[in-house]
């Protein structure tokens, strides 16, 4: 992954690293300001956030799970992990992409309006993508679709030509396979 331009093996201008995408799962105390803290870290240090989801997942323990999809060089991703880990309310940080064996899903609500052939085609495509109709009139549908981000991208792409009005996406939720917790 490292492609040094010169002899030097230091992180810095002399080293070119590929940009990679990573999904991080961050377990935090669900206390006021915790999300601002995490987001503030990303803006303050110039890291990217491509997707972010957060909800309390263990109510008795007041623990939330934040799932962040970020991009950066492997060195930057390593820094992000360490910077997150040293925050007081952070219990654990797991790089789900590196651990492999993880699944990622996203949910989107997609509103499409149109008449005639386009309307029929939209409904047909929705069936192919296993999207549910959760609201409809003679002028429109609202589809609910779940899956990998790439599948949702593709569905939205198709709907663009068929009368797409608006989209709301949850961002990515991710979890490791198997019977163990993170």
């Amino acid at each position: 992954m490292l492609k040094p331009k010169s002899q030097s093996h230091y992180v810095g201008p002399a080293v070119v690293q590929d940009i990679v995408s990573r999904t991080l799962s961050v377990l935090v105390d669900n206390e006021p300001g915790v999300l601002a803290r995490v987001i503030g870290l990303f803006t303050a240090r110039g890291y990217n956030i491509d997707s972010l989801t957060v909800t309390e997942t263990e109510h008795e323990k007041h623990v939330s799970r934040i799932t962040i999809v970020t991009t950066g060089t492997p060195a930057v991703i390593q820094q992000i992990k360490h910077q997150l880990e040293r925050m007081v309310p952070v219990h654990r940080v797991l790089d789900l992409t590196v651990e492999g064996q993880s699944m990622e899903r996203e949910l989107a609500l997609v509103k499409v309006a149109g008449k005639g052939d386009k309307r029929i085609e939209a409904l047909r495509m929705a069936e192919i993508f296993r999207a549910n109709v959760i609201d409809a009139s003679i002028n429109h549908f609202v589809f609910e679709i779940t899956g990998k981000a790439s599948k949702i991208e593709q569905f939205i792409q198709i709907m663009t030509d068929l009368g797409l009005i608006e989209v709301s996406r949850t961002g990515i939720a991710a979890i490791g396979r198997g019977d163990a917790a993170m």
């Binding site: 230091y10 810095g12 002399a14 060195a75 880990e85 007081v88």
Partner: protein
């Protein structure tokens, strides 16, 4: 007796007492009045009334840095909190343990733009290690105890507690520290033994080794400094320190090769550039140390010991990272070293030392002496000679004087050097000196200051008088913002844009107005007597030391240059100084 009923303010005070706090630095205001009321009828805690909240934080920093304890600050909401922000950021950058309690408007007014309301936790989130807004009085004791734990554990730092006025007045239950279960926050203190073995092996095989230690050694505690000495002695390696690390290894020892970095010695910087094994102990490879990053110590294997994993591989790739508390890791390294009793390449080390000695012979700290004007370097040399036999704490402001103090005042013990390294905050020195003096009433405490910096927190002179704090302020008065002027000379064709202070106060009169003793010295041959008089004055003294106006601080690694491209004082002409920094270097700070 595990729990008792009292109001929020009393809970805070009781928690502070139970945390072993004897002094707090603060400034009152509407939102913290309940806390001040609780302070009124008690003598277990001394409150030091500063003159501006910024002063309170720096004083607490000086107190903390010189004692190893957590410094405590109390300020009011709104402007009290915002005035504290610079000090909190300073403590964050230099890893100083603080607990800062800010008053806040009552909970039902939060968010209403109430009088003296500000989003304190929002504003201070990036500049504290952690912060809390306490909305329930029954959380208060736990939060205070936890704040102390967080402030001093791992890499230390400032922790803020925002306390709404109604919570401070509500009745609640006090819980003692032993009944508070520690947070899951638990930094790794013991180093990985495999890594330690690996490090020992690498160190044993070194031909041109270098120990590079920093402020982390001081933060780890006196034991870490002791172990660093043992380790350095045992290996016979050269040792250099960062600005924040001064005192961690005795400056007068022959294995000490001076400070490293932008204004470090020639021998330290060249040793860093040419070494083959670098043992970084509690330092963080920041840009003031590394210079041009891609030319930084190109031929060395690097071992990095640090309690903060995010400091490792942040700026420079290291070969053997060891996460842990310096004292633990050094102790383990010494144990492994003694058990293995490795044979060192004595021949190579001898050659390496010979090389270092030739660099040392350059005498990179030399300067042109004068019998007519006091050279600033000379002033620090004399100050050192005349104070070295006392227990002396030195603080500084920021600028040339700070670098000269680091170069010419020699520290043999940790915790005696108080300076704003990471943030470089002018105005740090006077309040920090006051904080240190309060903790060490019998010691000599001197703020080595610049004429510009000292005016940034001059109001704290009044605090010193109120609390009988006989600190000394030794101003290297060059009538310029010397460091700014030097950079303008180096970078901007000597166009001295707004770096000359046209109407400086008469510092002697100013001192007297505050109730201090004022002194002035202009001649080199009068300096010793004047310094002696200052030392022997049992009162706060302003010493206006008039020094050469245009002296530059050398050696210097210009921004964007590598260690082996350093400028030495003696052999640079004005043209060389003018052209020393390349176009790319000019954008750097």
């Amino acid at each position: 007796m595990g729990s008792q009923q009292m109001n929020g303010a009393e809970i805070v005070l009781k928690a502070l007492v139970d945390q072993g706090v004897s002094d707090i630095f603060g400034y009152p205001g509407g939102a913290v009045l309940p806390l001040y009321d609780a302070m009124f009828n008690q003598n277990s805690i001394r409150h030091i009334l500063v003159r501006q909240e910024g002063g309170a934080v720096h004083a607490a920093e000086g107190y903390a840095r010189s004692t190893g304890k957590v410094g405590v600050v109390v300020v009011t909401s709104g402007p009290g909190a915002t005035n504290a922000v610079t000090g909190l950021t300073d403590a964050m950058m230099d890893s100083i343990p603080l607990v800062c309690i800010t008053g806040q408007v009552p909970t039902h007014l939060i968010g209403n733009d109430a009088f003296q309301e500000c989003d304190t936790t929002g504003i201070t989130r990036p500049c504290t290690k952690h912060n809390y807004l306490v909305k329930d009085v029954n959380d208060l004791a736990r939060v205070v105890h936890e704040a102390f734990y967080v402030a001093r554990s791992g890499r230390p730092g400032p922790v803020l507690i925002d306390l709404p006025k109604d919570v401070a007045m509500a009745m609640g239950t006090y819980i003692e520290p032993k009944h508070v279960k520690p947070k899951h926050y638990s930094p790794q203190v013991k180093g990985d033994s495999v890594k330690i073995e690996q490090a020992v092996k690498m160190i044993a095989a070194a031909k041109r080794p270098l120990i590079y230690a920093g402020g982390g050694v001081i933060n780890s505690g006196p034991q870490a400094s002791k172990l660093l000495r043992q380790f350095t002695k045992l290996t016979g390696f050269p040792c250099t320190l960062t600005l924040m690390g001064l005192g961690a290894y005795p400056a007068n020892d022959k294995q000490f090769i001076g400070m490293v970095g932008m204004h470090g010695t020639y021998e330290a910087n060249l040793a860093m550039h040419d070494c083959d094994v670098m043992v970084c102990i509690g330092a963080r490879f920041d840009d003031r140390i590394t210079g041009r990053i891609d030319a930084f110590s190109p031929g060395s294997k690097k071992i990095h010991i640090d309690i903060d994993p995010s400091s490792i591989n942040k700026n420079v790739h290291v070969d053997v990272p060891i996460v842990g508390d310096i004292a633990y890791v050094l102790e383990e390294m010494l144990r492994v070293w003694k058990a293995k009793a490795p044979t060192l390449d004595k021949g190579a080390h001898k050659a390496w030392w010979k090389q270092i000695e030739t660099w040392r012979k350059k005498k990179s700290l030399s300067y042109k002496k004068s019998d007519t004007v006091i050279m600033p370097q000379y002033a620090i040399e004399r100050l050192y000679e005349l104070t070295k036999d006392r227990d002396c704490y030195i603080s500084t402001e920021v600028g040339q004087h700070q670098m000269w103090a680091a170069q010419f005042y020699h520290f043999d013990d940790p915790n005696h050097w108080l300076t704003s390294g990471g943030l470089g905050t002018m105005g740090y020195g006077l309040p920090a000196a006051i904080g240190a003096q309060l903790a060490h009433p019998k010691s000599l405490v001197i703020d080595i200051a610049g004429d510009a910096s000292i005016l940034m927190n001059i109001q704290e002179a009044s605090t010193a008088v109120q609390f009988d704090v006989p600190v000394k302020v030794f101003i290297l008065n060059n009538q310029h913002m010397g460091m700014v002027r030097q950079w303008q000379q180096l970078l901007h064709g000597n166009r001295l844009s707004h770096s000359y202070t046209e109407s400086l106060p008469d510092f002697v009169k100013l001192a007297e107005a505050y109730g201090w003793v004022g002194m002035k010295c202009e001649k080199p041959d009068e300096l010793d007597d004047a310094i002696t008089e200052m030392i022997n004055t049992d009162a706060p003294v302003f010493f206006d030391c008039r020094v050469a106006a245009l002296a530059n601080c050398f050696p210097m690694i210009p921004s964007g240059k590598a260690h082996n491209e350093m400028l030495l004082g003696d052999d640079v002409s004005d043209e060389e100084v003018g052209g020393a920094i390349s176009e790319e270097g000019k954008v750097l700070v």
